[in-house]
């Protein structure tokens, strides 16, 4: 509880990632609202009046120029609509398009949590590579559009280190679009050592490649989402699927929606089937592991053996062929760590390797923590990895850290109050939130 203007109110905590927007009350142990960051929209036709369609957010909340309608949350992109496009404001871990941010946060706070933002201080998280302009813009949105009484923006690396009980830690965050390694030293980010890459996208691209390419043993797989399938019949493993396409929807399906839907198919396959070998690549070991069965929305189903481990291997190594033909491959986890440690002297390296913190949904990838331990102990025998077993704690460590911090009465000294914002404007953000 925070004492604000005499009233005891809970602060709110918002953590925006490429996959989801997490929002909830400070002091809670998990976010009340977790809504997909991708949203559906109908673009505004130039100079035309628009009518509200089913499931659309209140148009007042929507930036008037860009969207005719915007669809968020449960009735968001997962519901097929004719001509609906899908957007996502995040690029490389940063908010690139602020237009949908207000509707997304509105949805989380007002629709899902049913709170009035003007009554609650709000703490927002940011990655280390956030830009000053971006955080100031966030402060502006909070104060000017959400009317919050107080605001703070907190670094996810430090939040994760603190939530693990550590002032100094090497924080490894693997999300939907970015993987990053952040050295935190005595509660400060050692910026020089920050390293990050869009590695999760390569994992995803690799999984797609494996699925859609035919092999000697099976055909290429069609990644049709269930929304485009009228009905399907049960078939044997590996047999051609028998399904009927919803022809009525094909013409009205946009490319951005189709991409989004396929990405979801791949993501589900990755989460249920893919893994990584814990001791490094080995054909024999990979072949020995049990193959896993998976069924796609078309009804096509098959067993996936060796292939499922090739996907996870990409977190740790790139094949020479891939490297030869792609000079700009995203850095692997070991490369990111090496780069981060280069900014640290040997003594600090020892401290950091004894305090490695795993966070982000990507670290839940089957076998990830074990493989990382194997890789790191080869070079640093004293490696100790902190990887919360509780999936909420693991995936939303940044949110959770912010939740605890913002719930402390003593934290009031750090909030930027509305009065301070009005008096000092944007520079106060950089001064207060280091």
């Amino acid at each position: 509880m925070v004492n604000y203007g005499g009233d005891e109110v809970s602060a709110l905590v918002i953590d925006i990632g490429a996959s989801s927007v997490r929002a909830g009350y400070a002091g809670d142990d998990c976010p009340k609202a977790i809504i997909p960051t991708s949203y559906g929209y109908h673009p505004a036709p130039p100079d035309a009046d628009v009518t509200m369609s089913d499931g659309a957010e209140n148009i007042d909340a929507v930036n008037k120029s860009k969207f005719a309608n915007i669809y968020i949350g449960q009735s968001g992109p997962s519901i097929w609509r004719e001509g609906m496009e899908v957007g996502n404001p995040m690029v490389e871990g940063l908010i690139q398009d602020f237009n949908p941010i207000k509707p997304l946060i509105d949805h989380a706070l007002e629709k899902t949590m049913r709170v009035n933002s003007s009554e609650h201080p709000i703490l927002v998280t940011e990655p280390t590579w956030n830009t000053p302009a971006n955080r100031e813009r966030m402060a502006e949105i909070m104060f000017e559009e959400f009317n919050v009484p107080a605001f703070y923006i907190a670094n996810t690396g430090v939040l994760n280190a603190f939530a693990a009980g550590k002032g100094s830690a090497l924080v490894i965050d693997v999300g939907q679009s970015m993987a990053s390694v952040t050295p935190v030293v005595d509660g400060f980010v050692l910026r020089k050592g920050l390293s990050y890459s869009p590695l999760p996208k390569l994992i995803h691209a690799h999984a797609r490649h494996i699925l859609i390419s035919p092999t000697p043993h099976r055909r290429g797989i069609e990644l049709l989402p269930h929304q485009l399938i009228a009905n399907k019949t049960l078939v044997d493993a590996g047999a051609p699927p028998k399904f009927t396409i919803r022809q009525d929807r094909i013409a009205g399906t946009t490319e951005s929606w189709r991409n989004w839907a396929e990405t979801r198919e791949i993501d589900e396959w990755v989460q249920s089937v893919a893994g990584v070998l814990d001791q490094g690549w080995n054909d024999a070991v990979a072949a020995q592991r049990t193959a896993r069965q998976y069924e796609f929305p078309t009804g096509y189903n098959n067993y996936f053996g060796l292939e499922r481990f090739q996907v996870g291997e990409q977190f740790f190594t790139h094949s020479p062929q891939l490297v030869a033909s792609n000079p700009n491959l995203p850095k692997t986890i070991p490369q990111l760590i090496t780069e981060a440690l280069r900014a640290c002297d040997p003594e600090l390296r020892q401290v950091l390797m004894g305090n490695v913190v795993l966070t982000g949904g990507g670290t839940l990838f089957s076998g990830f923590a074990d493989r990382l331990t194997a890789e790191l102990t080869r070079s640093f025998p004293h490696t100790k990895i902190h990887a919360p077993g509780n999936p909420v704690e693991r995936r939303y460590g940044g949110w959770l850290g912010g939740s605890i911090l913002a719930s402390l009465g003593t934290f009031h000294q750090l909030w930027i109050s509305k009065e301070e914002w009005q008096e000092h404007g944007k520079p106060i953000v950089g001064q207060r939130c280091k």
């Binding site: 740790f316 002297d345 402390l408």
Partner: protein, 203 residues
């Protein structure tokens, strides 16, 4: 069919399909870059032990870093001075008060047994400790060093870990003369040998 990698490197030429790599390569990614490092050593950027206290020289009272805002009770400083200057204690254990508003002294002791001291560290709760560590410097006779230990065991509750980690700087800043800092998450990290090793490494 387009090479799947195109989305990442649009200008890249056609890619050959990805196949398995030998076991060795798994190691190379990490170790070869370390070899590079050895060949062209990077200049030393920041020393761990000199980091604290140098960040915000203009804000002695107000620290605009992400911290809990928890205060430090005066008794902490008094006890610390008694240990440092008057050698009244061997160690001091600090805790947060019940309301989580202030850091307070939980225990002072002149018990010389390191094992007894370890017995004072709770298995599932966080604490801070100042310890007057006496040891034989290799070839240099008896030495004393003041150790600052942040004790945050793996099994402590996440809320306590968070509050302790984000309050540590406040306590640390008010205690001048600490020679060695240790972050302990299990008993092996605070074992006598491990502390001795760290104490010996400093100047």
């Amino acid at each position: 069919m387009k090479g799947y990698i195109d989305i990442l490197a649009p200008s890249a030429p056609e890619t050959s399909s990805v196949s398995q790599r030998g076991e060795k390569e798994g190691e190379r990614a990490f170790q070869s870059s370390r070899q590079n490092e050895r060949r062209s050593p990077q200049p030393l950027i920041i020393r761990y032990s000199t980091l604290s206290g140098h960040h915000h020289p203009h804000h002695p009272a107000f620290v605009p870093t992400m911290s809990s805002g928890v205060g430090v009770n005066d008794q902490c400083l008094t006890a610390f001075q008694d240990l440092k200057l008057k050698k009244k204690f061997k160690y001091i254990i600090f805790n947060l008060n019940k309301d989580l508003t202030e850091i307070v002294v939980e225990k002072t002791s002149d018990n010389q047994s390191y094992d007894d001291f370890l017995g004072d560290l709770p298995e599932t709760e966080c604490r801070w400790v100042i310890y007057d560590f006496e040891f034989e410097k290799e070839g240099g006779g008896k030495r004393n060093k003041i150790i600052f230990l942040s004790w945050s065991p793996d099994d402590a509750k996440i809320k306590q870990k968070m509050v302790f980690a984000s309050s540590r700087d406040a306590l640390k800043r008010s205690l001048t003369g600490v020679a060695v800092e240790i972050q302990g998450t299990d008993f092996s990290e605070v074992a006598y040998e491990s502390v001795l090793d760290k104490a010996n490494r400093g100047h």
